[in-house]
Symmetry: none
DNA sequence: AATGAATGAGGGTTCATTCAT
DNA sequence: CATGAATGAACCCTCATTCAT
């Protein structure tokens, strides 16, 4: 009897925890929608609550403050992105060229590289100087990405020397990724993911000409 | 007598116009400072007025509204940037390789590429989706830059075919410029302008290997 | 069988009633703590619940509303005080001088006259004008105290006329008690109960000089 | 010409300062009204603004925050009271008995001892424990009053020893003043200022019987 | 009996804007 | 031109209360 009651309580408690978690996800999604549509400066708790279909007080109940909610939203984006490319690398061939290509491709997956999410990333980057917390979160992800990319470039160069140093290679590849993201945001509407990936692959081919075959093979898969 | 009086009036009117212009510049500068320090979402007229050392009402007097002031600030940045690289190209040799290099160098001049101004650019980019006016101003400049860069790449390729298409070449160069800007904003503090320019020049060299000599010459000037 | 079950039910019902009563006392104690620490204007159900170690909903469950809880807290203080001095008088000699002294002494018993409880009394007095319920509760106790004190003074004067009218005597004694309470609240920290009682006894001696012996005897007991 | 302009500016500036000062007094008066009518816990900026007939934002403009306004209101009461009895003493005969009587009388002047103001005093006393600022302001005035009263009692006792120590005399007189104030607040409605003063004067007479003549003379003036 | 998610009214405060001086 | 008092809408947040579990 007692054990049943305990189990019931656990179940109920687990259900509550699950529902709370669900609500938080929902609110973060609403926050991202609002930042995209309204910009960070016009994003209010009232808008977020309306978008999520809950009361305004409930938002504060789950996140304590607006600032905390925004921070969680950024953390969500950051985690999502990081998980995405780490998974892609882990799932790939141990060949560094393949991993490099997969890393780049991960940056343009629809789940990551939608106009909406890019818009939100830029919104946070724009407040990076004034909000140390944003700076820390953005910086942490950026650093991990850069270092991974640099490490792969070094491994490739060890096998087959290129005209470019590993540092400059990494910088130019990462730069082109970032620049294409910006094009998604600001550039003409016709800009497409596939074009972007093809462009970067061409660049990688120029930088590491000996790896042409591998690169082309992966490019054709995309 | 009359003419004197008219002259006086003209002089005084001219002085006023000049002073008004001066005040506006001062307020735009204060606005840029505030956006950098506080972020767009925390930038208020009160802060701007304090930063400029004038009363709050005076700000509205000169710019009608806060939105108008922000728009003027963005327009100022945009004009400044555009003037900078157009001047650099006009002053350069008619050789497209030289012009390409000068265009790139212009993007890293201290007057343009300070951490403060980059921060403000990102602040506006972050609200691009929600504010058509920002989108228009940012897009216009971006387009001009891209087209100029693309046109130069085409001219170079005409002389000497590269493995990369002119489009991809332009995209990768512009991308690396943008990516390096982002590094200035988010990346580690030690990031320096000269390194950035050297990196891009190396990339250009890989893309247009036949132009190595010209590129190196200009790189050594930087 | 049935009777057992009934008994069990009665027991359980009694237990529940007892536990409910216990919870209420606990919540009233927590309320008094909060009013002392936070003031009436900052005392919230959340604080009270935390102080009592229960959930916020539980507070409402036991008292229906915040206002009802506050009223009960005041009623508790009032009853406690009234019981205290009535018991003291009942336990004392029928001699009115003795009873007067015991009445005064009761006002300074630690259970009544702690800095915390005085603070809460003042909190309620401060809202007396705006809350008829508080006014009624405070007024009822005050009136009972005043009338008892006046009645005792009249009895004493009947035996032995004093220079002061019974009314003024009662007023001055009650006034000094209240004033000393205020000193406990606002005055310097060193203020002590024993000094207070001695001071009032001296005053009573001046008012009723013929009762010196009785008064001194009780004073020495204190 | 210039001097005229300067003068004009000064005049205008002086007018503004005067008007600002006037507004502040007006808002403090409205605050006191609200605390009396609603209690400290229900006093909101909206109520105060409405009572003063200005916008809510304007209240914050003049006082920065609600807390600052409340503090200023308390400070006003405190200053008003202190000024009142200090003036009374300064205007009186150098005779300490006379000064004592005038000090007591000052505590019951209509400008000080209205039901409204007493209500507000109690409201602040009730939050004394939780708000150090209130404690400081209340304590400062209380101390000055007590010390003045004690000093007068000492001077009187030096001339003519009484049965009571100066300390107890001062304590009982001050206590009765406070207690009567409390009666004004809580006690039956018929309580009157003149009765109060007469009662205290009788007490003083009992404490310092040799000064009967002087005391009676001043009592008859009241 | 007890919990905690949810609500919504209202709190203090901020802020762009207006306007008399 | 310049100031600063004044406004009112909206903001973030608090909190008493309700309700499903």
């Amino acid at each position: 009897m007692l054990s049943t009651s305990v189990t019931e309580k656990n179940l109920s408690s687990r259900n509550r925890a699950r529902q709370s978690e669900f609500r938080k996800r929902q609110l973060i999604a609403a926050t991202i929608d609002c930042i995209d549509k309204l910009g960070l400066s016009q994003t209010t708790l009232a808008h977020i609550a309306k978008q999520a279909g809950v009361s305004q007080g409930n938002v504060v109940f789950h996140f304590q403050s607006k600032d905390a909610l925004l921070e969680q939203a950024l953390r969500f984006l950051s985690d999502e992105y990081m998980t995405c490319w780490k998974d892609a690398i882990n799932a790939a061939d141990p060949n560094p060229v393949v991993q490099l290509c997969e890393l780049v491709k991960a940056s343009f997956k629809p789940a990551i590289c939608s106009r909406k999410k890019i818009s939100v990333w830029f919104a946070f980057w724009g407040e990076t100087r004034s909000r140390p917390k944003y700076r820390e979160l953005c910086g942490r992800h950026d650093l991990a990405y850069s270092q991974t990319l640099l490490s792969l470039c070094r491994q490739i160069r060890q096998k087959e020397p290129s005209t470019l140093s590993a540092e400059t290679a990494a910088l130019s590849i990462e730069g082109m990724v970032d620049g294409l993201w910006q094009n998604f945001l600001i550039g003409p509407a016709g800009f497409k993911r596939k074009q972007a990936i093809q462009g970067i692959f061409e660049l990688i081919e120029v930088i590491f000409p000996a790896e042409r075959k591998t690169i082309r093979r992966i490019a054709n898969q995309a």
